[in-house]
Amino acid sequence: MWKLLKTNLIIEKSSKKNIFAFIFVALFIIGLAFYMENEDVGNLVALKTSEHQNITSALSQFQVMDASKDGDSNELYKNLNEQQRLISLQRVAAKLDKPDLFANSAIELANLREDAFTLEGYEEVAVYLPTYTVNKLESIFYETLKTLDIPIFKDNLSFYQFLIFLFGILGSIWFIFLAFYTCGIMIEDFRHTSLIKGYPIPFDQYVAAKGISTMSIILIFIVELFLCSLLLIYYRGLGDPTYPVAVFDGNYEIYSIAQYIGICLLYMISIAVFVILLSIILNVLLKNMYLTLFVELLLFALPTLFPRMISLFPYNPFNYMNFTNLLNGVSLDLAHPVALNSTYGLISIGLSIVVLIVVANLFLSTGKLKRV
């Protein structure tokens, strides 16, 4: 098996597909950095200006009334007026670079918003305001900033800040990228059967060698992600790896950037193993690279197309493939909310991997493939 693995790696090394995939990953990262620069992602003043616009149009749903503390208007109206005042304050704080003021009013704002969810008539204005989960995550984020006394970070293109954004995007497309990359994993060998026949080893070992060599290339992709982002240290500085990130992993929690990247990497690696095994099995069953790809993409898209499925089958591993949405608690804001736990997600994917290995073993040793 080791000899075969060595041969496989030599083939992978000179494969055009890999070279192009490497170019693609590099282009993706550089493009993303340019995109962030162009769109001014994370500009607090612009963000607060648009929030101010939103709240003003929420207020325009009401007749103008006395919004002072003992005025005769309803609670929601008073609440929204107070929110508007705080957002204006934040905009000033962002412009004048006063992080303390910004964080304090952010906490106050989040508390107000939390109160607003229970008030009468909230559904009418819900579209202008962040969802419950988003608000909750923001609230604990600013509270942590305040207790740890960390200034609000302004440069979103420094190395560690960029990594959060990068992994946030990767969460949504990692599965798709892997599906594209691995969809033809066995097809090449079906075409050149002499390669398989040249090695007197059982077929399952052959498949294992193939899987391991593909996995090692994927690991190199992950390393490449970091290597390409390193360029930003030169241009924008290192950033702060202990800066907090608010996530939902079953509870509302604060992770440091390093922790966040850690859990993303765990997910990426387990998804990679899962996709490789799935591709191998589908390749054997369908004997066509594109059909494999389409089936995988369809499986990935099903929970998005039919959100009811997520709450009916919370342990379906495909619910956890988009780990950005998972860590942002998106499933909490669905019509049928369900709390997806990131640890259970890893367990679910892990169990599915075991099942896939068993299935692969059964399939590949029953001689179905030996005819190839």
């Binding site: 055009k16 192009f20 995939a21 616009q53 389409f294």
Partner: protein, 402 residues
């Protein structure tokens, strides 16, 4: 050559991958028609209640403040602008209640123009709340476009001969849904399908080289035929999509080809102060223009994929290069840069065909040059250059097809 064409076409149709693409598209079209289209919530909806609420509170204000000359400041401003505004709202409301849809269109068109004049750049008035969703940084710009677009559209309804209904007003009929989709992500889906249909058209021959020895045709001609087959196949994606349209049509009506489609265009050079205006064209000519531009995009993509297939001989590379063409725009797109750069020269700028032809891209790029003519020139010249390269390369033995 005819025999080879038939041979390629039958291979194309029988390919498992291609059948899967058509089936997948059929699934998506039906899913859209049954699941997404019914839940569409237009921002500019027809809502008598909303008009009535606005009308009544303003009417109350006007009846309390009768003497116009005695009030200054905000009250005076209100007294100056509300009478006409309210008259328009009242006329709309009456027309809607009497089911006089032509009348409604006429007054609604005027209402949108009047409202936009007062709302744009104002601190006291806002566009329809739908534009101000959480996180939209350009809500008032979108509102400006949306209001004048609606004004022009309703003017078209009032002057045109099409059969009107609430579904037409809310752009729910089949043809209008198609128009809306062409304005959003449909062109990208069509181009991705085109790439998937073309991706292996050259490379599949390398698996069974002996089969092709029987055709005494030069590589160049073979490539042209392969390109033609892919183009026919790509146009064929219309078939599964039309099933979805049929489903929408049964439910909401089909609309007709005379319906107005507002096009945003400039009379002079665009600048901060010189905004464009909307001109109506018919649905038929809008869809025809879309079709033409889409075919040029297909031809560009197909020649690109053919060229890459010859040089690199790897399907993954084909996908990558084509994906770069389709998604390249997001890397340099920024609101308003059309004023500084000549974006109309890049073929990659014409992927969103619906937005190009309706002038929306001109609006957000602040340019006046993104139009059908320039698009055809850029894509056509690009295709010509690619075909020339293919022709030259096909003469080299090193790049032989099989």
């Amino acid at each position: 050559m005819k025999a080879y064409f038939k041979f390629e076409l039958s291979q194309f149709i029988k390919s498992k991958k291609n059948i899967a693409i058509y089936v997948l598209l059929l699934f998506l079209a039906c899913f859209y028609a049954l699941n997404i289209a019914p839940s569409y919530k237009p921002i500019e909806k027809v809502d008598a209640k909303e008009i009535e609420a606005r009308y009544l509170s303003r009417e109350a204000f006007l009846s309390n403040f009768t003497n116009e000359n005695r009030f200054t400041g905000m009250a005076g401003y209100g007294l100056a602008i509300y009478p006409k505004w309210n008259w328009l709202d009242k006329s709309r409301l009456d027309a809607l209640n009497d089911n006089k849809l032509k009348q409604y269109s006429k007054f609604t068109s005027e209402w949108y123009i009047y409202s936009n004049n007062i709302t744009y750049g104002s601190e006291h008035f806002f566009y329809s709340p739908g534009y101000y969703t959480h996180g939209n940084l350009y809500a008032s710009e979108d509102g400006y476009y949306g209001y004048l677009y609606s004004a022009s559209r309703y003017q078209g309804y009032a002057e045109g001969k099409s059969k009107l209904s609430i579904n037409v007003f809310e752009e729910r009929t089949a043809l209008q849904t198609l128009q809306r989709l062409l304005h959003s992500y449909l062109p990208m889906i069509l181009m991705i399908c085109c790439v998937f249909l073309t991706v292996d058209v050259v490379l599949k021959d390398r698996l069974n080289p002996s089969l092709l020895k029987g055709f005494p045709i030069s590589d160049w001609k073979k490539l042209i035929i392969k390109g033609a087959v892919s183009l026919i196949g790509s146009i064929g994606v219309i078939v599964p999509l039309s099933v979805g349209l049929l489903l929408i049509g049964i439910r909401y009506g089909f609309g007709d080809f005379q319906l107005p489609v507002p096009i945003y265009s400039y009379s002079g050079e665009p600048s901060y102060f010189n905004k464009g205006e909307f001109i109506n064209i018919t649905m038929g000519s809008y869809l025809l223009e879309n079709f033409i531009l889409l075919i040029f995009c297909f031809m560009f993509l197909i020649s690109l994929v053919l060229l890459v297939s010859m040089i690199i001989k790897n399907e993954f590379a084909n996908l990558l290069v084509a994906a770069i063409f389709i998604f390249n725009e997001i890397f340099y797109f920024k609101r308003g840069i059309g004023f500084f750069y000549e974006v109309e020269n890049y073929p990659t700028n014409y992927v969103q065909v619906g937005q190009i032809l309706s002038g929306y891209r001109n609006y957000i790029y602040n340019s006046s040059a993104l139009n059908l003519g320039n698009g055809l020139t850029a894509l056509g010249m690009g295709t010509g250059v690619l075909l020339l390269l293919i022709f030259l390369i096909s003469k080299y033995k090193r790049y032989k097809l099989v």
